[in-house]
Amino acid sequence: MLRRRSTLGFFMALPLIVVLGALVVYPAGYSLYLSTLNKSMQRFVGVSNFTFLFTRDTFWMVVRQSVIFAVTAVFFKAVIGFCVAHFVHNTPTRGQRKWRGMLLVPWVIPPAMSTLAWLWLFDPSYSAFNWLLQRFGIEAIPWLGDPYWARFAVILVNVWFGAPFFMIMYLAALKSVPEQLYEAAAIDGANWWQKLWYVTLPMMRGIIAVTVLFSLIVTFANFDIVRVLTAGGPIDQTHVFATWAFKVGIEGNDIPLGACVSLFMLPILGAAAVVILRDVGRRGAEA
């Protein structure tokens, strides 16, 4: 029986199907079921967990903060990544490896550990940034103590961590743009801005869309940085869906409500999935 190609193929893919089915698909569905139970998980309460969330100010704050956090961070990651990729691309090919290697370091360090360095840089009484600011006569900034600065800080750390990834992606994309296109544009009298707008950007559109979409998903679902840096504080002002779900579900011991909170990440995932799937269809046809 194993001689048959399709049967053997199925059995070779079976471990994958089992693992992903049991540990991704099933829990995702189970999460939906959990969200309809009461706190002690003995009674079906329908959508009342959701309606309860809608009445709470903290929930709407988390929604707003998650969106602001993800959109701002991804925007700056993409812009910085795009610029830095260009700067690296401009330098002679010999030295590019060195720059690339240096600039990707933030992405390589596990975020939970690098965020500790930021936590220490932002320390209320020993902040090294504030020490520098005071050299220039600027007042100390309450990096993590003030809600607005704390929001700025979590976004800054996220941009610091994620921009190198964009840089690598865009650098790879830049290298794949044929040089002849720029030559042709130069002959037609294009200036650098026109080359960027009419040659580079259209050629990189695919990559930019995919990386931004991916990053939006990952940033929207971010946990490590916010958890280590502020743990949601001050007074819950920096919570995003993931950290608030953890606080409510695991620390607060209200699993259904936590499941409920985390399910609010689904809409953006669904939207992203639809967009990406159109591209992926091609890949499936090739395979």
Partner: protein, 306 residues
């Protein structure tokens, strides 16, 4: 006449020469600006790790004096010595290493088999499965940790085995983070292998498994290395699952161990925390330093081929 012609040539050549010179000057200026901004961004990107190193070399006394946070007056290795002789920290390291290595092994076996099957052997629903693998990659762990937590608690009631608060529960859950992406990039690598190669092997009487291990694995080795590196770094860095599923000190992995045990209440022992975080970041950094090209190939494979 000739003089006239020469004059003409001169007239037409002069501005072109000037333009070439100005283009060269523009290019050089662009290069200098590129270097300038690269240095600025390198400082931004490397400040936190550098500051980790600086702080880790300081004694608690020097840190609390706070006279010059950016430089070290009297470097000391005391923080490192203390950590490397503390059984707690070494336990974290051992747990992290065990979990990561086991997860890499499980991931590579499952995804190599699956990628081979999905790229070469059609069966009912195989192309839908390839898409499904990609979709599971998009589901973040932050959506799954609560149901998984409950599932492990329920499993204990059914089987009597305590899943929560054991390091090996991480070996069960981490593959969900690594397998989709590894399978996905390996489908890409396998798909780029010419069909003639496996046809030749099959004609010579190789079985499908022999074709996989004797033809595909050697040919796609760069892709396999890239996937292995990806799986290792993901497993090493994962923070949410261990934070949710393990609590006893002897079951913790590095990221969680450092965050929950070294930061003790309000008495921040920053020299040691930074030393611990830096040591904990070492395995991925070392792999990156030696296998940078594979690391980057793995990163870019997901998007450029997808």
């Amino acid at each position: 006449m000739i003089g006239r012609a020469l004059q003409d040539v001169d007239v037409t050549l002069a501005p072109r020469k000037a333009r070439v010179r100005s283009m060269r000057r523009d290019r050089r200026r662009a290069l200098y600006w590129s270097y300038f901004f690269l240095v600025v961004f390198a400082v931004f990107f490397l400040t936190p790790p550098a500051y980790m190193l600086v702080t880790s070399l300081k004694s608690s006394a020097e840190i609390s004096a706070a006279t010059a946070p950016w430089t070290v007056a009297r470097p000391t290795a005391a923080n490192y010595v203390e950590l490397l002789t503390s059984s707690v920290y070494l336990t974290f390291f051992r747990n992290s290493a065990l979990v990561s290595v086991l997860v890499v092994a499980v991931t590579m076996v499952i995804s190599t088999l699956a990628a081979f099957s999905l790229s070469r052997m059609r069966f009912f629903g195989s192309s839908a499965l390839a898409t499904g693998v990609f979709l599971t990659y998009l589901i973040p762990e932050t959506l799954l940790f609560i149901p998984l937590f409950k599932i492990f608690a329920l499993l204990k009631d059914v089987t009597g085995i305590e899943f929560l608060n054991h390091w090996w529960v991480l070996v069960i859950v981490y593959p969900t983070l690594t397998i989709p992406f590894c399978t996905w990039i390996m489908i890409g690598y396998f798909a780029s292998i010419p069909k003639e190669l496996d046809e030749a092997a099959l004609i010579d009487g190789a079985t499908w498994l022999q074709t996989l291990f004797l033809v595909f694995v050697p040919v796609a080795l760069p892709g396999i290395v890239a996937a292995t590196i990806f799986a290792f770094t993901v497993a090493w860095a994962q923070f949410l699952y261990p934070l949710a599923f393990t609590t006893s000190t002897d079951q913790l992995v590095l990221p969680v161990g450092i965050v929950t045990t070294l930061i003790k209440g309000d008495v921040f022992n920053w020299g040691q925390i930074m030393a611990g975080a830096l040591l904990g970041a070492m395995p991925p950094l070392v792999i990156y330093a030696f296998l940078m090209d594979y690391y980057i190939a793995g990163l870019t494979a997901g998007a450029t081929k997808g």
